[in-house]
Symmetry: D2
Subunit: 473 residues, 4 copies
C-alpha cells in the first residue's frame, strides 16, 4: 500500500508531482503561481516535456518564484529528460500536453474547411477532434503504462483535450489507475448563474461562482445542467425569463464578431438548446456547436457570428514568434505577479491528501453517476474528493433527445479508443463518419480523412497505416 | 378467454377478419386473391373505410371472386360503416390506411424541398415521416381503443407506415394488445441472397427467397443483417466479394435514373453502409438514405441517381384520375386473375390459428430480442408464430455505431408517441429537430414544421395546436 | 417555488419542523437537546402524535428547556392534534413513529418463536420485520399524501423502521417527495475503524468516528463497506489481521451473554461475513443474522451467544411502568442535561438550508449510486447534502454473492410495498415466504402468518383481509 | 468456413459425430437406436470413453444393430482411445459423461446427510450438485479446448449434469463454441398438459406431448412456464382448477413412497410453487425441492413422502453388478429392439443440417431471451433450430420472487465457473455457502465441504487444494 505523500518533521505533507508537458507556457505558470502560495503542502515538481529546454526554463522560473519573499510555498522544481523519471514515485501526475500546432492543429482546422466543415475549436469532436484523439491515444497509453510501472498509486490529473478520450485511454490501458480529468468550461456557466442570482434575488449581492451549485452531467464540452442553486435558492427557475430576455437568440450581424475575442461566448447557442430540449448546456457556445449538426452548415463562415461567437483561425493556434512567455518572465521583460488563479488543482491535491474535502465537477468513468449512459464511458459530473478518494455524485438522467445526442459521441469515443488500441485506422474512420459534423458524402469524407492522416502521419506512428483500406482506396 | 376462431361442422376454422382501410386499391385486392385460394380456413371479412363506397366496391369484388369456379375459399365480404362494427368479435384485425395523399403526403414531400430537404420516400422518418407519424398516432389510438372494447383477444396485423410508430402506438394505448407489424422490405434482400447463393454455391440452383435465412435486426426500414444462410450454408461470407464487384458504388450518372421505376434499388447504399460498418442493411436504398445524413445533402436532386435510386415525386402519390382499380375489376375493364401474391398474411393467420408454424420477420415490442436497444421499443426481428403466440427470436447486438444510429430514431419515435398521447406539439418538434435529415438552422426548421402543420391541420385535430410555442413563434 | 425556511430580520433562517411521532420518549428528547444548542437556525416544532398528551408533554418540556439560561436556541414547541396541522407549511418533517409494542412488536417477536424462528431484533426483515412493514406502509402512505397536500417542498427525514420500506413507501406514494432515511447503525462501525486506526497507525491518536471515511453500500441494516480511510490512510488493509486476532469468531459460551446489554455487538458475525465474502458488513451483528439463513437455525436460543450477541426479549419492548421519561423530566425526578447527542439531524437541517455541506450515509432511492441493484430500490449509501439538495455518491458494486443476498431482500421489499398499495395480503405472504428466515414448511408458514395477522388485525385495517386466500385457508 | 456435413453422391448428408462418454449404458444405446432408424443422414460415430472397453462394446453393438434388416441407417461406429481422435473433424459432438458413482456421486449424497442436508437427486445444486460442478468444470474446459483445436465449427450437444455449469464452462473456455444443452425434464410437464387438454377440451383426444406448446424460462431443473397451449388453445387457465383438485398438496403419508420408483413425481411441489408464486415450475418435484429451502428441512427423510416423492439412495447410484446392459445386448441375454425413443437428438441434428427446422427448449447463454437475468448466464428457454443456427425465443420475465430465487443460483453458478477457472477452492466454497440448502452453521458447512473435497480429491486435481484456507482451517 502506497501512502499518499509523506510528512516532513513539522507535519507538512511532502509530495512529488510529475508534470507531463512541463514546458508549457500556460499551465505550468499557473501551477508555479498556485504552489508558490500553498503553505500547507510542500514537495518537488518534476517537469517533463518533449521540449526539454522549455521544461528547464520553467523549472528555473519556478524555483526563482518560490524563493521570492512574497511566496509561502516550499517547493522545488526540476526538469527531467525522461517520462520515467518524472513519474518515478510521484504522488500526483499532472498531464497537459500538446503536439506542435503548426504540424497538427493547424491542419485539423484548415483541411476540413476545404470540404465545407468549419469548426470553431476543433479539439474535441468533429474532424479536428477526431484526429487529435487519434494522436493522443498512443501518447496516453504510454503515460498510463508508465504510471503502472513507476507510480501505480499516484493520482493522475489530466488537462489535455480531447479530455474524454484521453481520460478513457488512461483507464483502458491501466484499469486500476486513479485518474481524473479537469476542465474549466463549467466555471463560466457558474458565473452566468452568479449574475442571474444577483439579478433576481434581493439577498444576493456580489455572488461568487463557487457559491453556485450546478448539477453537471454529460461529457466534457457537452455537459448539461438541470439544477442551479445559490445557498439552497433555486436559480434554474429564472431561465425562462432569461431566455425571453435574450430572444431573438441569433440576432448578431454577420461580421459582428470580427474583432471579438476568440473565446467569447454569449450563451446564445446554450439558450437555443435550452429552448429546444429543456436542459441547459454547461459549455461555451464555441464547443456546443461542434456537437450537433444545426449550427455549422454555413455558406459563409461569418454567418456563425449571428450566434455571438466566431471561429478561431488556425493562425491563432500557431506559436507566437519571438521569446516565449517563460523567456519573457525569466528575462524580466514581463513580471511574474502572484495572483489568485481560480484554478482548483491545489485544492484538489489538498483534498486527496486528506486535508479538506472538495466538491467539483470532473471527468471520470461512469459507474452509475450517469445511469442512462454506458458503464465505463468517461462522463463529466460532480464528485466529492476526500483523502485518497474520488466519489462521483449521481447526476440523474438527461432528457431523451439530449441523452441520445450525447450517446452518439460516447459511442464514437469508445470506437476511437478501441481503434487506437488496435491501431485500426479503418475503425477510427467509422467514428469519423459517424460524427455529426461529417454530413458530407462518404467519398469526400474518405478523402478528407486521408488528407488529415497523411499530413499528420508523423504523429500517427502507432497506427497501422499500411493495412488501412481507407488510406489505400 | 377468447378462443381464436371457431370451427364449422367439418372442422374448418371459421373466423372474422376486420379490415381497417378496406377500401384500398392494393392491399384489399391482394387479400381477396389470397383468401380466394385458402382452403383450410373460412369466414367473413368486414371492410371498413372512411370512404365507405370504396369498401363496398371491394366487398362486391371479393364476393364475386370467391364465387368463381377457380376459387376454393369459403369467404364472405361485407362493407361496414363503423369501425366498431368491423372489429366487433373479430379474430383478426388488418390495418392498412392512408390519408388522402393530395392533402397530406404531397405536402410531406414538397414542403421540405423548399428548405433543401429532399426525401425519396418521406413516409418513415425525416420531416415527412414525422408528420405522417403525427397524423397516425391519434388514428392508431382509436384503433387500439376499439380493439380493447370490441375484440381484445384478436390479433392485429398492421401494414401502415410509419410502421414502428403505428405499432408502438397500439401497444402504448392498449398494452395487452396482440399486434404485429408486417413489411415486405426484407423480402428483396432475401432475393439478393438467393442470387448470391446461386452465384457462389454449386449446389444452389433456382433458390427461392423463402429458403434464405437472414438474421434481421433493427427498426423497420432501417433493419440490418449479419447472418445469411441457405440450407445451413453461410452466404454472408460472400459479401466482401460482392462489394468489390459493385465498386465504385455510386458510379451511376446524374440523370441515369430519370426513367427508372420509382421503387428501383440497386443496393449500392446498402453496400456502402456494409463497407462502412460491417453489417448489411436489409431495407431498400430509397429508405436507407433517409435515416442517415450522408446521402441527401444534395445541390441537385438528380445527384441522388449516382446511387442508383431516384426520388418519388409527389405527383406519383396523387391518386390516378379515372375509375379506380376496383372499379376497373368490377366493370370488367381489367381481369382479376388469381395469382401467387407472395404475401404472408394468410400463412400468418394459419399459424396463429395453430395450423402450421411460421418463422418470419416482424415488428414487435422489444422484450429482449434486441438486448442493446431499449425495452418496449418496437423493433424488427425474426419471430416464430404458433397457435395464438408470437415469440421473437433473439437477434444479438448491432455494431456500436449502427446501434447508435438506430437508437437516435428509437428515441425520436418514443418522443413522437409520447408527444402524441399528450397532444404536445412542441415535444413533437423536438423529435423533428433531432431527425438526422433536419440539419437546417433551428429557425428554418421551425418554419418548415409550422408550414407542414398548418397545411395538414385538418388531420392534426387531436393535437393541442393552440398551446404550441413553435406554432405561435 | 417554495423557499426553504424564511429569514428573520437578523438573517437567521427560521423554519417549521413538523414532527410525526412527537410524543416519543427518546427521539423527541434528543431533538429538544440539539435544537436548544443550535444558534444559527430558529423556528417552531409542531409535535404530532396519536398520543396527544405525550406530544403536549414534550412540547412543555421543549419550551422549558430552550428557555433555560444554558440554551442558545430560539425555538418554540407546540403539540397539535392533527397530522395536517403538524405538516402545514412545514420546511422539514421528521418521522419517528411506533405502534404500541404490547399489541404489535411483542407478537412480532414471540409468535415466530413458536414456529422455531428466533429474531434478535424483529424490526427489519424476517417474520417480525414483515409484519412491521405491513403496518407501516399504510401509515407512510398517509404521511406522504399529507406532505403532498400540506408541504410538498419540505424535506422529510425518516427514522422509523423498517427504514427501507418506510422510505420506499414515501416515494411510491408521492414520487416528487424530498425524503431521506437516517440510521445510526454505521456509526458503530466507524468507531471500530477509529480503534483500528489508533491500533495500527502511529500518527493516529484519539481518532473521532467522524474522521473515518467508509464507503457504505447496500440496504439499511444490511449495508457493507469495502473502503475505510482516516485522513486518506487506508484502514481496510488491516482487516485481515483484525480477523485473525478475533478467531475463533464464535467462541463465546452459550449463556455468556445472559447479562449483556441487549444491544451489544462484538462484530463477530460481521467478521465472519467478511471472511466468507470479502466485504465487511456495516451493521451490528444483531441485525446481520436476520438477513441470512446461517445463524438463527438454533435448537436453543442461548446458542446465539456464541457469536457475542443475544436476543432482545419481547418483555424489553413493552413500555416501562410508572411515569414516562418526559414526565420524569417535567417533574424534576430526572434532570434534563444538555449534551452532545452525536445525532446529525441539526447538521443535516443546516446543510439543506445552505449553511454548511454535510457528507453522511443515508437511505435514498437508487438512481445509480448502486448500479448493480434495481433502479428505484431504496438503498443506503453516502451522500452529499447541500442547499436544498441531496446527491448520493456512487458506491460501486458489491461482491456477486453479497449482491445476490441483498437483492433477495430488495425484491421482498418491493413486493411488500406493492402489496401494501393494493392491500393484497396474499402478495405480502409471498414476500414472507421468500424471507431467508422462513425456511419452514409452507403450511407452517401460512399458519404463522395467519397468527400474526389475526393478532395485529387492528393495525392492518388498510389491507384487504377478506379476500385473502392465505387467511381463509 | 466449415461446411456442416458433406454430401454423399446420392445427396445424403454425411457427417461425423464425436461421442464423449461413448461407453455409457443408457445414452449410447438410445443413440444407436435412433441412428439405426434415421434414413436421410449418414456417417460415422466415434465413441470415446475413459473406459475404452465400454466404448468398444458399444461400437460393436452399434455396428451390429445398423446392419440388421430392420435398420435403415447408414452409420458406422468406432471406439477411439483419445478425445482428440473422437473430435477431430467432427460435425457434431455429443457429451454425456459421468464419474464413477461409487467414488463421487455416492459421497455427494451420503456425506451431506450426516450434516442434516438431504437431497433427492444431488446432481444439480445443493452440496452434491456443487461438488459435481467442481468436478465437471475442468473436464468441460478440456472438451471445449479440444473442440477449439479439432472441430471449432462443430455443434456440441451436452447432456451431462450439472447442465448449466457444464454448458457455461464450454462457452467460458471457448466463447465461439456452438454448444447447446439438452434435458428431458420439461417433456413430463408437456405430458401433464396433454392430460389437462384431454380433460378440459372436448376436441382434445389422445394429445401428444409434442403438440403442447409451453413457454419455458429459467435455468435447467428450475425452469418455469407461464403459457401452455394446444393448437392455440390456452391450457394455462385450467391450472387453478387443477390446483384445487390436488389439494391438500402434501397429503401423502410418510412412508407412502417407500416402494415407488425413484423417479416418481406427482407435481405436488410444482403446484405448491404455482400456488405461492403464480408461475408453474417445469421440472419434476425431485429437482424443485433442491432449489428452495422449504421442503428439505426434515427431521425424518420419510417426511418428504408427503409431497409424493422420495429420495434416491446412493445405493441406487452404484453400478449394478454382473454384466452391463451392453454386454447383455451383445450376449443376446437381452434383445435390442428398435423403438421410438422420444429423444430429439436426431431431429436436432437434421435441423442444424438444414433439413427441417425444430423448435424445442434448450440451455444456451442468455443474449436477451431472459431479459431479467444477467447476460451470458446459461438459461433454459425455447429456441428455433435451423440450418447451422440456434436462435433462442424471447421468454419474457419471471415473477419478481421467482426471478430472485433463480438469480441466486445463477450467481452461484457464475461463482463456481469463475472459481473453477482459477482453481480457487475458497471461492467455490462461497457458492457452497450461498446455496439455499446450506442453512447450517458456517463451521459445519466448512467441515462438510472439506469432507467432500477430501473424499473426492482424486477428481479435483485441477483445483488448487494446497492454497485453500477452508481446507486448512
Amino acid at each position: 500500500m502506497h501512502q499518499l505523500g509523506s510528512r516532513s518533521s513539522d507535519g507538512t505533507p511532502r509530495m512529488k508531482i510529475g508534470y507531463v508537458g512541463g514546458g508549457s507556457q500556460g499551465w505550468a505558470h499557473t501551477l508555479i503561481n498556485d504552489l508558490a502560495q500553498c503553505e500547507d503542502v510542500a514537495g518537488t515538481v518534476a517537469l517533463y516535456d518533449v521540449d526539454y529546454e522549455a521544461a528547464a526554463a520553467n523549472a528555473k522560473l519556478g524555483n526563482r518564484v518560490v524563493d521570492r519573499a512574497d511566496a509561502d510555498g516550499d517547493w522545488t522544481f526540476e526538469a527531467v529528460r525522461e517520462l520515467d523519471d518524472a513519474l518515478s514515485d510521484a504522488d500526483f501526475v499532472v498531464c497537459s500536453i500538446q503536439d506542435p500546432p503548426e504540424e497538427t492543429f493547424v491542419h485539423d482546422i484548415d483541411l476540413p474547411k476545404r470540404y465545407g466543415i468549419h469548426q470553431p475549436v476543433a479539439d474535441t469532436v468533429g474532424p479536428g477532434g477526431t484526429l487529435r484523439a487519434m494522436r493522443a491515444i498512443p501518447q496516453y497509453r504510454e503515460i498510463a503504462a508508465t504510471v503502472r510501472e513507476r507510480c501505480p498509486d499516484a493520482w493522475v490529473i489530466n488537462y489535455t483535450n480531447p479530455m474524454t478520450v484521453c481520460t478513457r485511454t488512461l483507464y483502458e490501458e491501466f484499469p486500476e489507475i486513479k485518474a481524473i480529468g479537469l476542465c474549466h468550461e463549467v466555471f463560466q456557466l457558474q458565473e452566468l448563474f452568479a449574475e442571474i442570482a444577483e439579478r433576481h434575488l434581493e439577498e444576493a449581492d456580489d455572488v461568487n461562482r463557487e457559491e453556485i451549485h450546478v448539477n453537471v452531467k454529460g461529457i466534457n464540452h457537452f455537459t448539461w445542467i438541470d439544477e442551479a442553486r445559490w445557498r439552497g435558492r433555486d436559480l434554474y427557475r429564472f431561465l425562462d425569463d432569461e431566455l425571453e430576455a435574450r430572444k431573438p437568440l441569433n440576432d448578431f450581424e454577420p461580421g459582428a464578431m470580427a474583432d471579438a475575442s476568440y473565446w467569447v461566448t454569449n450563451y446564445r447557442v446554450a439558450f437555443d438548446l435550452y429552448d429546444r430540449f429543456g436542459a441547459l448546456p454547461a459549455a461555451g457556445d464555441r464547443h456546443l456547436v461542434e456537437f450537433v449538426p444545426w449550427y455549422l452548415d454555413l455558406d459563409d463562415p461569418e454567418e456563425l457570428h449571428r450566434w455571438g461567437i466566431r471561429f478561431t483561425p488556425s493562425s491563432a493556434r500557431r506559436p507566437d514568434e519571438g521569446p516565449s512567455q517563460t523567456e519573457r518572465y525569466l528575462s524580466g521583460e514581463d513580471a511574474f505577479e502572484l495572483s489568485e488563479s481560480g484554478e482548483e488543482l491545489v485544492d484538489i491535491v489538498r483534498a486527496l491528501l486528506g486535508l479538506e474535502p472538495v466538491e467539483t465537477h470532473l471527468n471520470y468513468p461512469n459507474e452509475g453517476q450517469m445511469a442512462d449512459l454506458p458503464e465505463g464511458a468517461v462522463v463529466e459530473t460532480n464528485a466529492l474528493l476526500t483523502g485518497d478518494d474520488v466519489s462521483p455524485l449521481t447526476a440523474g438522467s438527461l432528457p431523451d433527445e439530449v441523452r441520445s445526442m450525447v450517446e452518439t459521441h460516447v459511442t464514437n469515443q469508445k470506437t476511437l479508443v478501441e481503434a487506437g488500441f488496435d491501431g485500426d485506422l479503418d475503425r477510427a474512420f467509422r467514428a469519423f463518419l459517424n460524427d455529426p459534423l461529417v454530413t458530407i458524402d462518404r467519398a469526400a469524407a474518405a478523402a478528407l480523412f486521408t488528407d488529415l492522416v497523411e499530413r499528420e502521419r508523423e504523429y500517427l506512428g502507432a497506427w497501422n497505416l499500411e493495412k488501412s483500406e481507407v488510406l489505400s482506396s
